[in-house]
């Protein structure tokens, strides 16, 4: 008798908050999937990835706010590392620090630059990711200034991919708001 009474008194989360959590989890799984897909797909160079998983971060930023986007970005790097098998290796350290840096730059620019579009946020994130990646590799692993010779051409490439990801995220969020009406 008492147990049934107690069980009815457990506070249930509201349907709205549950729906929000489910949406966030769905986005997290999508982002992790894209992260793993990118790791195994052939790329243009060993220092370079398209950053498709960042599209999901941008969508979360647009539709759920900064907190959800930040936890999503960190979550997908950790979950992705389990699947690729790079947990606690140099690859993981570079990936996590660069993601932390680029996500904070993206959130700050989204919050403080008036009327910035998703493309602008994505460009800022791509450039911050590339720069922080080089700083981490130079400081922790290679320790030679010659490494920075690679940076300028890669910054140009990351401008292109940053724009592409921003445009894709804008298109996807526009489609999502049309469908959800």
């Amino acid at each position: 008798m008492t147990t049934s009474q107690e069980s009815t008194q457990i506070p249930r989360p509201s349907l709205v908050s549950l729906e929000k959590k489910a949406y966030w989890l769905g986005l997290l799984l999508l982002a992790s999937g894209l992260h793993v897909f990118e790791a195994v797909m052939p790329s243009f160079g060993p220092w370079f990835k398209l950053g498709l998983a960042n599209i999901i971060t941008l969508i979360a930023l647009q539709s759920m706010g900064t907190k959800a986007a930040a936890s999503l970005a960190i979550g997908r790097v950790v979950i992705g590392a389990f699947f690729i098998g790079t947990m606690f290796t140099p690859t993981f350290i570079i990936s996590l620090t660069a993601t932390l840096a680029s996500t904070s730059v993206m959130l700050i620019s989204w919050r403080f630059i008036p009327r910035i579009s998703l493309i602008g946020v994505s460009l800022m994130g791509a450039l911050a990711h590339m720069c922080s990646q080089f700083v981490v590799v130079e400081q922790l692993f290679i320790q030679q200034i010659a490494l920075y010779y690679l940076l300028p051409p890669l910054l140009v490439l990351s401008c292109a991919t940053g724009w592409l990801n921003g445009a894709l995220a804008t298109y996807i969020t526009a489609q999502l708001t049309i469908r959800s009406r």
Partner: protein, 91 residues
């Protein structure tokens, strides 16, 4: 000249276009990295790392080009006084 570094220390220096191919085995943090310098340029032919991104980088032959194996902390850098191809833009 091809300079091979492990972290901050210089391991070896070789000419970029040797008459006979040079194989150099560099001791990295987690194992050996085999660097080959031949008529096509310099490349990392074998590495003990997991991702093999250094091997996938292929050949490098221009001044200013670098090859790196991050888990082993090995850097191969081509240095010289010869003019870079891209410098013409800034002139």
């Amino acid at each position: 000249m091809v300079h091979i570094y492990h972290g901050k220390s210089l391991l070896a220096t070789y000419p970029l276009h040797p008459k006979t191919p040079i194989h150099f085995e560099a001791q990295g943090d987690i194992g050996l990295v085999e660097i080959t310098i031949d008529s096509e340029g310099v490349r990392i032919s074998h590495s003990s790392c997991a991702t093999k991104r250094c091997v996938l980088s292929g050949h490098r032959h221009r001044v200013g080009d670098i090859l790196a194996c991050v888990p082993n902390r090995i850097l191969v850098s081509i240095q010289g006084t010869q003019k870079l191809a891209l410098d013409a833009i800034s002139e």
